[in-house]
Symmetry: C2
Subunit: 310 residues, 2 copies
């Protein structure tokens, strides 16, 4: 087995460990944070069928051609029960297969929402530790979970199609605030002009969507033929340089570290509290509670009091 394959297999195992919250997760993440470079994290969001996967393929291939170590994470928050990712991984594999510097991974929600959002951060951190230059994070849809996951990124692309009027209408606020770059894909279709004009007027209305000196561009693409992909790459590069110039790069990482500290502390406090004895107490209280009209606040108080006594 050659060295590259061993390396990739180790990466896959590490990500699984972190995804499953196994005993080694903390050690892996700790190591990743300390050794990590600072990959450019690119979020890609938009309604189903807009062509996100095809566009991500092109972007990944371009980065790869330029010698960048590139990871693609497909996050699928829409199937919490089966755990199966519905994104077109097989199609993607064909385009990107045979490239030593491209790594592809699907993530699906297995439980809580917040969980998926946090795991996405953790997986990005592991990839950082492995020295990736680029991490593309693709999500399905434009609901709030997607916005949360997009916030794991340094820059967010929103892919729309000429027919996306309704989506914009429904999601206007969220889309306008979270998107740094707009892409109108399938721009050979009818209605593209109206869509671009509509987007531009929304952008003009908002003016300052962030404290950063950046005006959200609207780029037309035809992802199936690769048309417009260069313009997207140029916009990404421009955005990255702006972040660097504004020292925003630095504060993004600081903010991420702070959130991670909060998460670790709160999880540790909870884990220390919920001993087998406490869980037993809770079960007993719930049984007696179901008879009377009890309140969860009283039960919590009892449990917390027993802590203070101990």
């Amino acid at each position: 087995m050659d060295k590259h394959i061993r390396h990739i297999k180790q990466l896959a195992r590490d990500i699984s460990e972190v995804e499953n919250g196994g005993p080694g997760a903390e050690i892996l993440l700790d190591k990743a944070w300390k050794s990590g470079k600072f990959a450019f994290r690119i979020g890609v969001t938009g309604p189903p069928g807009a062509g996100k996967s095809t566009l991500v393929n092109w972007l990944a291939a371009s980065f790869s051609d330029n010698g960048k170590k590139t990871a693609v994470i497909s996050v699928d928050p829409s199937s919490p029960f089966t755990g199966g990712a519905i994104l077109g991984d097989r199609i993607r594999m064909n385009t990107l297969s045979g490239r030593d510097n491209v790594y592809i991974r699907s993530m699906a929600s297995r439980g809580s929402l917040g969980g998926l959002s946090m795991k996405t951060h953790d997986v990005c951190d592991i990839l950082d530790g492995y020295g990736f230059d680029i991490i593309l994070i693709e999500t399905v849809g434009v609901g709030q979970i997607e916005l949360d996951i997009a916030q794991a990124a340094d820059v967010t692309l929103t892919v729309l199609v000429p027919e996306s009027g309704d989506d914009i209408q429904a999601m206007k606020a969220g889309i306008m605030e979270i998107s740094d770059i707009f892409i109108v894909n399938k721009s050979d279709r009818h209605g593209v002009e109206a869509m671009v004009t509509h987007l531009r007027s929304l952008i003009a209305l908002r003016k300052k969507y962030s404290t950063l000196p950046w005006e959200q561009p609207v780029i037309r693409t035809i992802a199936t033929s690769g048309k417009g992909v260069d313009a997207v790459l140029t916009a990404l590069d421009k955005y990255r340089k702006m972040l660097e110039n504004q020292q925003a790069w630095h504060s993004i990482r600081g903010e991420r570290m702070k959130n991670k500290v909060f998460q670790i502390v709160n999880e540790t406090l909870s884990a220390h509290f919920w001993t087998p004895e406490k869980r037993k107490m809770l079960r007993e209280e719930l049984q007696s509670a179901s008879a009377a009209q009890q309140s969860p606040f009283r039960i919590a108080e009892k449990l917390l009091t027993s802590l203070r006594k101990a």
Copy 2:
């Protein structure tokens, strides 16, 4: 000011207090849990434009006509930034206005996802305390946040239209698992037969979607004219009786109480930990961390060690 109006104004204030997490929230929720009856919580989900609001209007009006104290909560997780609800409340108000036993409230996400899901639970608990018989919880879209919120309900209706094929395709897993009753609205449109057949085949494929003895019905409605609403009401009644017969009613409330205890305990632990001194320590650590390649695990450890010493 008459008694009813005072009562409703007090309810609105109580809900706001709980939504904003004000100092009185705990007392109000504590009281609500102790005095609460057990309202039937009906979740209504489905893609935008499927006619959820119109259907909810009909259901609310029918319950109200039957003397049931009915609440409608519109949850809008798609605009996390503006906090503005995009649902058609004005339209609804006209249909339901002048009814003393109907209360309507919009909720929008102001921050984290998990936050909205929890607040929805809390608002339902307050309504329980006010003696409501029926709580209709309407959400926009079928992403995972909507599934989470739907889980706050005792029963979940999924409203689709003949054109929803793509939505089902994208969301299949989630929809099939979470829905207790399917509604194909706008059933005078082309494609309704194909849609109903498609849904039935998916249901048959899954067979046991839950441990409860319940086969998910597919009901055709034309919400604009009220056609099929009676069938929905009958299905809801049947579902409720099934829950009662299976003692599931009881365990649903127990499960909710348990989750609430966990939440209260974990929030209390966190609040006690994060004193102003700890926050100062964190800020200092983050500043020194940004120079070196530090890890959030080390910072968390330092903070937690200082706790043990204290």
